[in-house]
């Protein structure tokens, strides 16, 4: 068994934390784990990509274009930007709540209609799950818990090899004690939104 998750989003959204939660859960299940992260200049509000691979025999920290089993998109435009990481059979989990780039916010560039982004994915892939992770996180208590919503949602997508309870335990272990309740709540809400 081999499984590759490509986690894409914007610096500050918690992409690295999510990859740590999934990676530790995979390690706990006895899988080999190989990951690759973006650090440094790329984190200043730019696009962020984290690759997570686990299975019986993985060693390469990168995956071939197109070979992702799952694209976990923390942001709709970034999901579309990175669509070539997956193939027509990949599972795609896409947060529909955008993070506006500064040039868009300032009115110099346009952000596409969310529907057009969803349709662009649907044209090529029939395993798309969409979620309003940021809205759900706000409902759970705080917008920053959107990554916990996404992790909960991943537990519910088709064929994801790590069980829900293992993922939740890994999440709880990765976050500071005072945020555990919030994260657990956000995780469950994310799971329910997809399951």
């Amino acid at each position: 068994m081999k499984y590759t998750v490509q986690i894409v989003g914007v610096g500050g959204q918690g992409v690295l934390l999510a990859s740590m939660v999934l990676g530790n859960a995979a390690m706990g299940m006895g899988y080999k784990v190989a990951m690759s992260e973006v650090h440094g200049m790329a984190q200043r509000g730019g696009s962020v990509l984290s690759t997570l691979r686990f299975g019986d025999d993985v060693i390469s920290p990168l995956e071939a274009n197109g070979s992702a089993n799952l694209i976990m998109g923390f942001e709709p435009a970034e999901t579309c930007r990175n669509l070539t990481l997956g193939n027509k059979d990949s599972v795609i989990l896409m947060n529909l709540d955008p993070v506006l780039p500064s040039m868009v916010a300032a009115g110099f560039e346009e952000y596409p209609e969310i529907d057009s982004l969803v349709n662009a994915v649907k044209e090529q892939n029939s395993n798309l799950y969409t979620i309003d992770a940021t809205k759900i996180a706000i409902e759970a208590g705080k917008a920053v818990a959107a990554n916990a919503v996404m992790i909960g949602a991943v537990a519910a997508v088709k064929g994801f090899p790590i069980p829900k309870d293992v993922l939740l335990a890994s999440l709880i272990e990765q976050v500071p004690e005072k945020f555990r309740e919030l994260n657990a709540k956000a995780f469950e809400m994310g799971y329910s939104a997809i399951a």
């Binding site: 914007v10 610096g11 530790n24 390690m27 080999k32 784990v33 190989a34 990951m35 690759s36 992260e37 973006v38 650090h39 440094g40 200049m41 790329a42 984190q43 200043r44 509000g45 730019g46 696009s47 025999d57 993985v58 060693i59 390469s60 920290p61 990168l62 071939a64 274009n65 197109g66 070979s67 435009a77 970034e78 579309c80 930007r81 669509l83 070539t84 990481l85 997956g86 193939n87 027509k88 990949s90 506006l100 780039p101 500064s102 040039m103 868009v104 916010a105 300032a106 009115g107 560039e109 346009e110 952000y111 596409p112 057009s116 982004l117 994915v121 090529q124 892939n125 917008a143 990765q174």
Partner: protein, 605 residues
């Protein structure tokens, strides 16, 4: 979170965390660096844990000094570790080249973290050639687990040879993460004694001549160690042989079948007999390595010297690229030679036009105010913005476009002097506080000495921000049981005799503009110090005071001066066209209010 001081167990570690753990398991007692991605995390980790680990650690003013302090420690019998990004080794090459002649006593590793694909660098130079140039042994790990183990083996080799060893990594090793089994911790030795030996440690010509011979002898000995090294091993069988190293090995290992792999971890000097034996009887050899044909050219030589007429494929034959980092996809280039796993057909790029999202200066970043002030002050003057290495490199983007020339640390101010002399344009050099101490002082003095009429702007944000907020001489240090006072940049600049020195607050953009006008008109060297702490650093220190900002939509005249000049990501254009602030990003610095001509923006005090 990683616990690098744990006694045992398995952890999911970043390559840089695994390397740091390797230092603890190897008993390293001294470490020094100048921060640079992809090596930076090692410094941030050591800043936190060096006291508890019993290791002395320092952020040195630059890589050259970092090399020198670690060289002295190792010469005194203390295992030392000096680490930097690839271009940092250019700065440190001067001491390294002669240190090789002197050698060391306690083990010394020089980590060069190379950055194929320039993820956060200005070039993608291949530092493996430094090992040949300096005649130093070199090792290269492929994974976090191997990196940790190799640190220990590298110290053993360094001590056996009495030579510093280049520990060469790349971004995909430093920033890869994998399962790492912790080994027993060693007790570090932090104090030694420097036993004088003039013939070794004083390389005047008479001694240097002899030490060159000594070094060549040691290089031969290193070759024997490489032949026997457990870091060089063969896996699998097949008529096709693949010779590989570093992260490329992981791609070959996982995605190529039906080939025999010679994996090289001890990569200078190469195990020439082992390579020749590996090649004998093979139908073909493929060399898989990133960047330059470093291994490949040596393999071709080894073939020639051993009269082996086996074809060697790689970069010289055009099967593999010389530019940019590899990935599993790169292996498509050798599919005609060997069995490579079939990858899935990727989905097509979407046709929807996606907004750009380059890395950008943060909301409330003081550099924004300084760039706005410099641009406004320059007006129609023909200026050349000589920028440097740091967050402010991002000033190249619109609307600032405040970078016309960038080469290296401190290079902006140096070039400014040359432009002042060789053109009629006005050079304005930008550099950060850490860059000022790293390599910015000599070009400033050069401008004074040679009467170059330049403006030097020191963007003093009280930290080394881009690499993850390390302290620098301008902040003083307070970790590892050592506290020192901050060095005052203004006093230093005045002290060398600069006549025009002004300290400004970049949040007061109008005030800064006035000072910049004077600086540009000044007939001589003008130094403007833009002093304002990085909000991210303040946030980390829990000292950031966030003020709310109100925009009076009735007063907003929709001139967009704020977004055009400050371009803060916390500013956005509302549906009606008026400007608003995003409270999740805005820190209330007031730069936008300062440039608003209609007084529509107000910071609540």
């Amino acid at each position: 979170m990683a616990n690098l001081l744990a006694d045992e167990g398995r952890q999911l570690l970043l390559g840089n965390e695994a390397i740091t753990r390797g230092l603890i398991e190897a008993g390293a007692g001294f470490a020094s660096t100048y921060p640079g991605t992809p090596s930076s995390e090692v410094g941030n980790l050591l800043e936190k844990i060096s006291s508890d680990a019993g290791i002395y650690f320092e952020f040195s003013t630059n890589e050259k000094v970092a090399m020198e302090v670690s060289a002295a420690a190792a010469s005194s019998g203390v295992r030392s570790f000096v680490f930097m990004k690839h271009v940092g080794l250019n700065v440190a090459a001067d001491p390294m080249m002669t240190l090789a002649y002197a050698g060391i006593r306690g083990g010394m590793l020089i980590m060069s973290a190379d950055d194929p694909s320039c993820h956060s660098s200005q070039n993608e130079q291949d530092n493996r050639y430094y090992s040949m140039l300096a005649l130093l042994p070199m090792m290269e790990p492929s994974t976090p687990q191997e990196a940790k183990e190799m640190v220990k083996e590298a110290y053993r080799v360094s001590e056996e040879l009495t030579l510093p060893l280049i520990f060469r990594t790349t971004t995909r090793v430093n920033h890869a993460r994998g399962v790492v089994e912790l080994g027993p911790k060693a007790t570090p030795k932090t104090k030694g004694h420097f036993d004088k030996d003039v013939a070794r440690f004083v390389n005047i010509p008479a001694y240097a001549k002899q030490n060159r011979v000594r070094l060549l002898d040691l290089y031969k000995k290193a070759q024997e160690l490489s032949e026997a090294s457990p870091c060089n091993f063969i896996e699998g069988e097949g008529e096709i042989g693949i010779i590989t190293s570093g992260v490329s090995y992981t791609y070959v290992k996982e995605f190529v079948s039906d080939a025999s792999i010679l994996k090289l971890g001890f990569t200078n000097p190469l195990p020439e007999r082992k390579i020749a034996d590996f090649i004998k009887g093979k139908k073909a050899i493929i060399v898989v390595e990133e960047l330059e044909p470093f291994l490949e050219d040596q393999v071709l030589r080894i073939c020639a010297q051993n009269s082996l007429s086996v074809p060697v494929y790689g970069k010289r034959t055009g099967h593999l690229p010389r530019q940019w980092e590899f990935s599993p996809d790169t292996l498509a280039g050798i599919r005609e030679l060997v069995k490579v796993e079939e990858f899935r057909q990727p989905m097509k790029k979407v046709e929807v036009a996606l907004p750009s999202r380059p890395p950008t200066l943060c909301a409330g970043c003081p550099h924004r105010g300084m760039f706005a002030a410099a641009k406004k002050a320059a007006g129609n003057t023909d200026v050349i913005y000589c920028s440097d290495i740091g967050c402010y490199t991002l000033g190249v983007q619109p609307p600032f476009k405040a970078a016309d020339f960038i080469i290296c640390m401190g290079g902006g101010a140096g070039a400014a002097g040359g432009f002042a002399q060789s053109t009629d344009q006005k050079p304005i050099a930008f550099m950060g506080d850490s860059t000022f101490f790293h390599a910015g002082i000599p070009p400033m003095i050069n401008a004074l000495f040679n009467n170059h009429k330049v403006v030097i702007v020191v963007l003093d944000n009280r930290t080394t921000a881009m690499t993850g907020h390390q302290p620098n001489p301008g902040t003083g240090r307070d970790f590892g049981g050592v506290s020192t006072e901050a060095i005052d940049i203004k006093k230093l600049v005045e002290g060398v005799g600069v006549k025009f020195v002004r300290e400004i607050n970049p949040y007061d953009v109008k005030g800064a503009t006035k000072v910049m006008k004077e600086a540009i008109e000044f007939d001589g060297v003008a130094v403007v110090i833009s002093k304002c702490p990085c909000p991210l650093e303040l946030k980390k220190q829990k000292q950031l005071v966030i003020r709310a900002v109100d925009v009076d939509q009735n007063k907003c005249v929709k001139c967009y001066n704020c977004v055009r000049t400050i371009a803060c990501p916390a500013l956005f254009k509302g549906k009606e066209g008026g400007i608003s602030t995003d409270p999740t990003q805005c820190i209330g610095c007031g730069m936008c209010a300062n440039v608003c001509p209609s007084g529509a923006i107000e910071v609540r005090q």
